[in-house]
């Protein structure tokens, strides 16, 4: 039977070739403090140990994020919300945003994009939606 509550593990990420996310999740999925893990180069930590998006405000990443948004997100989130919430007004932390995109949302229609998008692409789309309050 499908256990839809399971989380992504490092091994599964490694198998699908998303190594950076796999390294990152080795700490995250295990619910250990990330401070205890070697953080990958492209993921920053704040003082509190939260995972934050290194691309916020990065012009190229925002442009790339727009392409990602149009290739994967827009069918449900539309320009200002639809089947999914309006991401341009999201108040999710970077870490929670990453969690939701990678794993999906249990009991909701948000699917898991962990095998489809790379960590870079998720940060890019996060940078994009946080760069403006509307599409």
């Amino acid at each position: 039977m499908r256990d839809s509550s399971r989380r992504w593990t490092a091994g599964r990420f490694a198998r699908c070739g998303t190594v950076a996310v796999g390294l990152f999740l080795a700490g995250w999925a295990g619910e250990q403090s990330l401070a205890q893990q070697a953080a990958p180069a492209d993921t920053e930590e704040s003082d509190e140990g939260a995972v934050t998006n290194p691309y916020l405000g990065d012009f190229e990443a925002i442009a790339a994020g727009k392409r990602v948004y149009r290739s994967h997100c827009i069918i449900c989130h539309l320009k200002s919300g639809g089947r999914g919430p309006n991401l341009f007004r999201t108040d999710l932390t970077d870490e929670k945003f990453l969690d939701i995109v990678v794993n999906g949302v249990e009991g909701a229609l948000m699917p898991a994009f962990g095998t489809k998008l790379t960590l870079d692409e998720i940060w890019q789309v996060n940078a994009y939606v946080k760069s403006r309050d509307r599409y």
Partner: protein, 582 residues
């Protein structure tokens, strides 16, 4: 409680399989049974009840006089992730067979509401990210001792009717390239015919026939003609390869001429100026020889579609008189806002009537051919300004939900929606095909126009005019059943099952199911009592526009029916959670 715990079915599986012995008969459903389904009022053996897709039952024990006394007899939870229910249940030999979200299949004893068996397809991680419109499924098909279902990841699975075990399964296509499946299969003779979804992902639509017994592939007919075939030149360059025209709704069969009719979806990408030409046979109905799949004719409702006006809703076949002339008609209510009467022997246009007010994407249809004159102000050009309002919005008109036809009244009953949209087409260079990614190229925004959006309407086919209209504040997304009791049944997104007087549209009875209804009702007679059954569970496209309580229930109603004591879907103990106290 975690839903997954409810799914620990390993132990109950064998227990419920044993129940099969107590379920009456289980006679095979033969090809002849399917052909003569019209006279079989005690069962509902295929998606549209009969091959002509009329969804009309002569049953009249529930009628305008007593429908007010109708009550639920039993209900059954489909549990799971509550992704929305869109199916038409089937009933054969006292067992209801239906699919829920994720193409999960249930067999339930209709006398007791006890689950006989349950089948849950397994999916690869990431598959759900490849679905345009939710993890929905529209139903199963039955033949002989098998039940057929199309899984979301585009497999055709044959289940053994006795116990729900897998007899065989075939991969229809590669979901990673955007090919998915949500429709109910159609059994014709010894074949199972399926379509595919994915026009928002650059697929090339087709219908395919499999041998019902072995699963061997018989034939495949593409909705978009290949090189050298008539109509291929309606696509510039290689655009036909990724041109959409998906086939995600079940077709219609005419045994008299052995013709299969199948609706096709929108072309892709949505930027119509990237595929100048008619783009045959997108937004069309195609007629093929049911034995060989050979193309007979096509009728294109919306050439060079720029508005996502899929033509998937299956035509209803009826022999009617229009303007004093006999017509072997194919009746189709469309997302583009028109209801078409076609000559099904030739694909010739007879007439089309708007189902809603204010249609503005066309300034009118050619009275001889039905070809629309496009209002170019409603065509979003790549990289150009957004266009709005476009009426109807891309959901229609009438989206996929099945209509019904009462042959005695000569009325076709439809649900249709009156709303609008804005379209904003990206610059061409931004629209790049990549297998598995969205290939839309256009942003859309739907708009409400008025207090009411949804309408249930009756159309007098002979007079080619609507005779009544009953509004709903929310879009209507449920199928319709008409009966010899002078009634139609449908459901709304507020959660109500509705019974209306088929002559007047007056709502005579309603029942709140607790979640929006976007599935199709059926009726059948069991042990002398008439029942009505419908699935309730908000999901699919209505979920784009309204948040409401999710659900997943099969509801069964009658006026005076009684249920034998049954078990439903019994919870199974969570290991170690509640041991017996010594």
């Amino acid at each position: 409680m975690r839903v997954s715990n409810l799914y620990a079915f390993g132990t109950t599986f064998t227990a419920v399989a044993a129940l099969w012995a107590s379920v009456a008969g289980a006679d095979p459903v033969t090809s002849d049974d399917l052909l003569s389904a019209a006279g079989n009022t005690s069962e509902w053996l295929m998606y549209g009840r009969t091959y002509d897709n009329q969804r009309y039952s002569p049953l009249d024990k529930i009628n305008t006089g007593n429908v007010g006394d109708m009550k639920p007899v039993w209900a059954f939870s489909t549990g799971g992730k509550l992704g929305g229910l869109e199916a038409t249940p089937l009933i054969a030999d006292g067992v209801l067979y239906f699919s829920a979200d994720y193409a999960r299949v249930f067999a339930v004893d209709a006398r007791t509401g006890t689950m006989v068996w349950y089948y849950e397809p397994q999916y690869d991680d990431g598959m759900e990210a490849e679905l345009c419109c939710g993890p929905v499924n529209r139903g199963v098909a039955i033949k002989d001792d098998k039940v057929y279902v199309e899984t979301l990841d585009a497999r055709l699975v044959a289940l053994n009717r006795a116990d729900g075990t897998v007899a065989w399964e075939k991969t229809i296509d590669d979901w990673k390239a955007g090919y998915t499946a949500t429709g109910a299969p159609l059994v014709i003779g010894d074949q199972v015919v399926v379509g595919i979804a994915g026009a928002e992902y650059g697929v090339r639509g087709y219908i395919r026939s499999y041998d019902a017994e072995s699963g061997a592939e018989n034939w495949t007919t593409y909705a978009i003609p290949g090189p050298g075939e008539p109509g291929n030149d309606s696509w510039p360059g290689d655009t036909w390869k990724t041109g959409g025209a998906s086939t995600w709704q079940t077709g219609t069969y005419d045994a008299e001429t052995n013709t299969l009719y199948w609706g096709t979806g929108n072309p892709g990408p949505w930027n119509s100026d990237m595929r100048t030409g008619d783009n045959k046979w997108s937004c069309s109905v195609i007629a093929v020889d049911a034995t060989t799949g050979k193309f007979k004719w096509g009728y294109q409702y919306t050439p060079n579609d720029a508005w996502d006006y899929d033509g998937n809703n299956a035509p209803i076949l009826a022999d009617v008189t229009v303007d004093g002339k006999s017509v072997k008609a194919a009746l189709q209510t469309n997302r583009n806002g028109f209801l078409y009467t076609l000559d099904r022997t030739s694909g010739g246009f007879v007439n089309a009537v708007p189902t809603i007010d204010g249609i503005n994407w066309t300034t009118g249809l050619d009275p001889k051919t039905g070809r629309p004159t496009v209002n170019e102000k409603t065509r979003a050009l790549s990289g150009g300004d957004p266009v709005k309002p476009v009426i109807p919005g891309l959901e229609g008109g009438t989206n996929w939900f099945p209509a019904s036809y009462d042959p005695n009244l000569g009325y076709m009953f439809i649900n249709t929606n009156h709303w609008a949209m804005q379209l904003d087409a990206w610059p061409k260079e931004d629209v790049v095909y990549k297998p598995g990614d969205l290939y839309m190229g256009v942003d859309f925004q739907m708009y409400r126009l008025d207090k009411d959006i949804g309408y249930t309407k009756a159309f007098d086919v002979a007079k080619q005019e609507f005779v009544w209209s009953t509004p709903s504040p929310l879009p209507m997304f449920a199928g319709i059943l008409s009966t010899g009791g002078g009634l139609i049944f449908t459901g709304d997104e507020l959660g109500n099952v509705l019974a209306m007087n088929s002559k007047t549209g007056e709502v005579l009875w309603e029942f709140q199911t607790g979640s929006g209804i976007n599935a199709s009702p059926i009726t059948y007679e069991l042990d002398g009592t008439q029942y009505v059954a419908i699935l309730s569970g908000l999901g699919g496209d209505p979920g784009f526009y309204f948040q409401g309580p999710k659900g997943g229930m099969l509801w069964v109603f009658s006026v005076d029916g009684k249920k034998a004591k049954g078990e439903g879907w019994n919870p199974t103990p969570i290991e170690g959670a509640l041991p017996q106290l010594d």
